[in-house]
C-alpha cells in the first residue's frame, strides 16, 4: 500500500532528511521515490527494516564514475531507490549491519564541499543581479521593478543562508580533523 507524504527539506538539510526517512522506516514505512520539491512515496515494511542515506554525487547519474560507484554499492547490498539531479537516495537492510556512506572526516568534508560548490554559481548569479538592481535603484533614486527586486533579494539571501550554513559545517569538521581523523 503506497502513501505519499510531503515534507520540505532544504539543500543544506540532507542529514535531517535522512533522519526523517529513517524515522519513517522505524515506523514501518519505507521510502520508494522522491518527487521534487517535497513529495515522498512510501510503502509498508517491517519496522526498522531499512536504513536510508542520501548523497550528492560528484557527477550525474549517467556518468561512468557514478555508475561504477552505484554498482560497487550494489555489491555490498546497497539499493538505489531514487534520485534527483545528482542527489541519490540509498537504502540497506538494517539487519545487515550499520549503514553509513562516510565514516571519516575527510569524506564528510568533501561531501559538504560538493554541495557548497554546487550552490555557489547560483548564489553568485543571484547576488550579482541583486547588486545590479540595487545600484540601478540607488543611481536613479527610487526602487524600480519592486516585485522582481524583492524576489531576487529573497533568493540571494536564501542561497546565501545555505552557503553559510554549509560553510560552517565544513569548518566545524575541519577543526575536528586537526585532532582526529
Amino acid at each position: 500500500m503506497r502513501t505519499t507524504v510531503s515534507k520540505l527539506f532544504f539543500v543544506n538539510q540532507h542529514e535531517k532528511e535522512e533522519e526523517w526517512l529513517n524515522d519513517m522506516a522505524a515506523n514501518g514505512k519505507a521510502m520508494l521515490c522522491y518527487k521534487f520539491p517535497c513529495f515522498y512515496e512510501f510503502e509498508n515494511c517491517e519496522p526498522n527494516e531499512y536504513t536510508y542515506r542520501i548523497e550528492m554525487l560528484e557527477n550525474g547519474l549517467n556518468h561512468y564514475k557514478s555508475r561504477e560507484y552505484i554498482e560497487f554499492l550494489e555489491e555490498i547490498g546497497i539499493e538505489t531507490m531514487d534520485s534527483y539531479l545528482k542527489w541519490v537516495y540509498f537504502r540497506k537492510k538494517t539487519k545487515d549491519g550499520p549503514f553509513d556512506l562516510f565514516s571519516d572526516l575527510e569524506s564528510k568534508i568533501r561531501h559538504y564541499q560538493r554541495i557548497f560548490r554546487f550552490l555557489t554559481p547560483f548564489f553568485l548569479l543571484e547576488a550579482s543581479i541583486f547588486i545590479l538592481f540595487l545600484s540601478e535603484a540607488l543611481a536613479s533614486g527610487y526602487i524600480i521593478h519592486n516585485f522582481s527586486y524583492g524576489i531576487i533579494g529573497f533568493c540571494t539571501f536564501f542561497l546565501g543562508y545555505f552557503e553559510v550554513s554549509l560553510f560552517r559545517k565544513i569548518m566545524k569538521l575541519k577543526k575536528e580533523k586537526l585532532i582526529r581523523e
Binding site: 554499492l73 550499520p98 562516510f102 565514516s103 575527510e106 569524506s107
Partner: protein, 108 residues
C-alpha cells in the same frame, strides 16, 4: 620506490590493507574489518569505495582478473602495499612504545 617520510594511514586504510593479504571482495573486506576490530570499525560504503580507488591508484592493491563483469570484483594487496603496512607497523610500535614508557613507566 622513493623513501618518503612516513605518513600515518587512517585505521580504515590500515585494516583494509591487512584484510587484503588474502583476496577479498568489497563485502568481504567490510566483514573482515568488523570482525578483527571486534565490531568497533564498520567500514562506511563511500569511504571504502574511495579508499579502494586510492589504493588502486597507488598500486598498493590490485584488482584480480576474475570473471569479466563479475558483480563481485576481488582485490589483493601488492608488494608495495605490504611495505606500506610494514612501515605503518613500525610507526605504530613507536607510538605505543612511547605511550607505555610515559604512561606506565615501562621501557619498550
Amino acid at each position: 620506490m622513493e623513501n618518503k617520510p612516513s605518513i600515518a594511514l587512517t585505521e580504515a586504510v590500515y585494516y583494509i590493507l591487512l584484510s587484503l593479504y588474502q583476496p577479498l571482495h568489497g563485502y568481504g573486506i567490510i566483514q573482515n574489518v568488523s570482525s578483527i576490530s571486534d565490531g568497533r570499525l564498520v567500514l562506511a560504503a563511500g569511504t571504502l569505495y574511495g579508499a579502494i580507488n586510492t589504493l588502486l591508484e597507488k598500486h598498493w592493491i590490485e584488482a584480480l582478473p576474475g570473471e569479466k563483469n563479475s558483480r563481485k570484483k576481488e582485490y589483493v594487496i601488492t608488494n608495495v602495499g605490504k611495505s606500506a603496512i610494514e612501515e605503518e607497523m613500525k610507526r605504530l610500535a613507536e607510538l605505543l612504545q612511547n605511550g607505555e614508557k610515559i604512561v606506565r613507566g615501562q621501557l619498550g
